[in-house]
């Protein structure tokens, strides 16, 4: 490509690209604004928080506007010359992450973490990580995937160690950065093998070349370079998802980091990593269906399925023994990542394109629900920590007598995480299991059901301690601030949404239109 050609592409492409990129741009502008404003501040104020709230709300608005405007149009979804793709899938995740950003700023406001002094350091990191996660969901170029993963990770390392004087936070961030840097290095090496082998880093082109290469060799003859490349990239993504066996950082980081940051990593980071896994593996596998190379997609689906089953089972079994609430929720997060990997594995292994979109639909739906139940649980942990100064299950005894609304909210989140009808978590889980049934992955379905029963034990254990167990000494109760009350009320109502007419079909319509416009290479 000559320089003139490149300039031509830039000239014609850039205006439209920037419009479609505007939710991310809103975050970029907010970050710069916060950093700029702090130059003129003498004392710490909460100005940074207000700016962060404004930025995330604008970003959410722009993402929703673009989703409504373009979801049915025939605009080419690839922007910036094939670096990013803006399809329904991207739109959905941008809305999800921006909405989550709004909730995060709200949670930070009610728990007063970070303090006014640190707010202008904390929020640029938070928004920067969110920006990186948005890019993770939209990249279709290996270089862009690497940049996006790094952009999401680097601020996360900082956020994990944000409480500088805390020994445990220091340890958590050390573990996170050491393992994270290793995982990203391994991923980059995998990319160098894969991209070099096919002479392109553009994922759809690469997938087509792969299908062509498989077809020309006629069957299950694969280059060891390609296998190594794909597996090493999956190691990097698996680390971000915290899939077993790359999960070991997750409990330590969650326990050491503050509950707010743990909630952020648990929801946003996981959502982005799952989106990346879905985008990467589905794009790579799709042309193979056309080439009738189902042996390879079957093997990839089986690998992912086994990984998902082990992840879910390990997370649920290990969670039972935990006494620290954040650590317990970390294992619960690992287990939920396992559930969400199941439909992706099923879609790839199902040998049929018609089940592709319903499977992705189930993942998107689960993530939307997961945001509300998991953030709610971390929010309650943070609020209780502010009141009683402990995150240990033993100190939760008899909380029903001390703060009934918070205990009820926790009960709703915990039961929703288990998947008890009629809460939102049940519907989300049901849809995942329905996809597993349709795709014929019955063994995965059975493992999923057994896991749901396992998970009931530790979620209910928390509730038993909070509600049934009698405290030895009576301790005083406390009142929630109105803003905290509203935060919990919104999340509880969201978890009760299946009972309300109209809300549920609306969410279904959004995820359906998001997957109906999924950009796949033909």
């Amino acid at each position: 490509m000559t320089l003139t050609q490149v300039l031509d592409i830039v000239r014609t492409d850039i205006a439209q690209s920037l419009v479609l990129f505007s939710p991310e741009l809103a975050l970029v502008v907010t970050i710069l604004l916060i950093l700029f404003v702090r130059l003129f501040q003498r004392e710490g104020t909460y100005l940074a928080r207000h700016l962060a709230l404004l930025g995330t709300v604008i970003s959410l608005g722009l993402a929703a506007y673009l989703f409504n405007r373009t979801s049915l149009s025939a605009e080419t979804p690839e922007i910036f010359g094939g670096m990013l793709v803006v399809d329904g899938f991207t739109h959905f995740f941008r809305m999800l992450l921006a909405a989550f950003g709004v909730f995060m700023v709200w949670l930070c406001a009610i728990t007063a973490v970070p303090s006014a002094r640190d707010a202008s350091d904390f929020f640029p990191l938070l928004l920067g990580a969110t920006l990186g996660m948005m890019l993770m969901t939209s990249s279709i170029h290996l270089l862009m995937i690497f940049m996006a993963v790094e952009m999401a990770s680097l601020p996360s390392y900082g956020l994990a160690g944000f409480l500088k004087e805390d020994r445990r936070a220091g340890e958590a961030s050390l573990k996170y950065v050491v393992f994270g840097a290793g995982a990203s290095g391994i991923m980059l090496y995998g990319m160098s093998l894969l991209a070099g082998r096919f002479g392109t880093a553009h994922l759809p082109t690469l997938a087509r070349e792969l299908a062509g290469a498989v077809q020309s060799t006629g069957g299950f003859v694969l280059d060891p370079i390609v296998v190594a490349g794909v597996l090493l990239i999956l190691v990097g993504i698996g680390f971000k998802i915290a899939a077993v066996p790359f999960h070991f950082w997750c409990p330590d980081v969650f326990q050491g980091a503050s509950a707010e940051v743990a909630g952020f990593l648990s929801v946003a980071s996981k959502a982005a990593a799952l989106a990346l896994l879905a985008r990467f593996s589905l794009t790579l596998a799709y042309p193979l269906f056309a080439a009738d190379s189902t042996a390879i997609t079957g093997a990839l689906g089986l690998t992912l399925g086994l990984l998902a089953a082990v992840t879910a089972t390990y997370g649920n079994l290990a969670a039972y023994a935990q006494t620290n609430l954040k650590r317990l929720l970390a294992f619960s997060t690992i287990a939920h990542a396992g559930y969400m990997m199941m439909p992706i594995a099923a879609a790839i292994g199902a040998q049929s394109e018609s089940l592709y979109r319903p499977a992705v639909d189930a993942v998107l739906f689960y993530l939307a629900v997961y945001l509300f139940m998991n953030l709610g649980a971390f929010g309650v942990v943070a609020l209780i920590r502010n009141a009683i100064g402990s995150e240990d299950l033993r100190d939760y005894v008899g909380l029903i007598h001390r703060n009934a609304p918070l205990t009820v909210a926790m009960a709703v989140f915990m039961l929703s995480l288990t998947g008890i009808p009629p809460l939102a978590g049940f519907v989300a889980k049901f849809r995942i299991f329905a996809v597993l049934y349709d795709t014929g992955f019955l063994w995965l379905l059975v493992i999923g059901l057994i896991n749901t029963v396992f998970s009931l034990f530790y979620y209910v254990k928390v509730l038993r301690v909070m509600i049934v167990d009698q405290p030895e000494v009576e301790r005083p109760g406390w009142q929630l601030a109105p803003l905290a009350m509203a935060f919990n009320a919104v999340l509880v109502l969201a978890n009760l949404a299946p009972l309300a007419p109209g809300v549920w079909p609306a969410l279904q319509a959004v995820t359906q239109s998001a997957v109906s416009w999924l950009h796949l290479p033909y």
Partner: protein, 104 residues
């Protein structure tokens, strides 16, 4: 001059670098030592990228990849060193085996 060295030779060197880096990450107990292992792995992939850029149609893409592969880990190293320094301030050591307070 480039004909003298086949692509395979460069790939073998980079694979050796990758293995050294991975071993270094797995066995070193000093946090800075682990970071050096990470750098070896990253530079192995950069070597791959420039080699593919030279010998295959991957071309300019590979060189761009290598450039970003140099810049991005520099940012990562900056954060990692800051965190290691903070860990040292709290624990007076950079031995990762001493990072063992977060447990059940």
């Amino acid at each position: 001059m480039t004909e003298a060295i086949p692509l395979q030779a460069v790939l073998i060197v980079s694979a050796a670098m990758f293995v050294c880096g991975a071993l270094c990450m797995a066995t070193k107990r000093n946090a800075v030592g682990i970071l050096m292992g990470v750098e070896l792995v990253l530079n192995a992939s950069n070597l791959n990228f420039v080699a593919f850029a030279q010998y295959t149609p991957f071309g300019l893409d590979g060189q761009m990849f290598a450039l970003f592969g140099i810049v991005m880990p520099a940012a990562e190293a900056a954060i990692a060193l800051a965190i290691i320094l903070n860990f040292y301030n709290n624990h007076l050591t950079v031995d990762v085996d001493r990072a063992n307070e977060l447990k059940l």
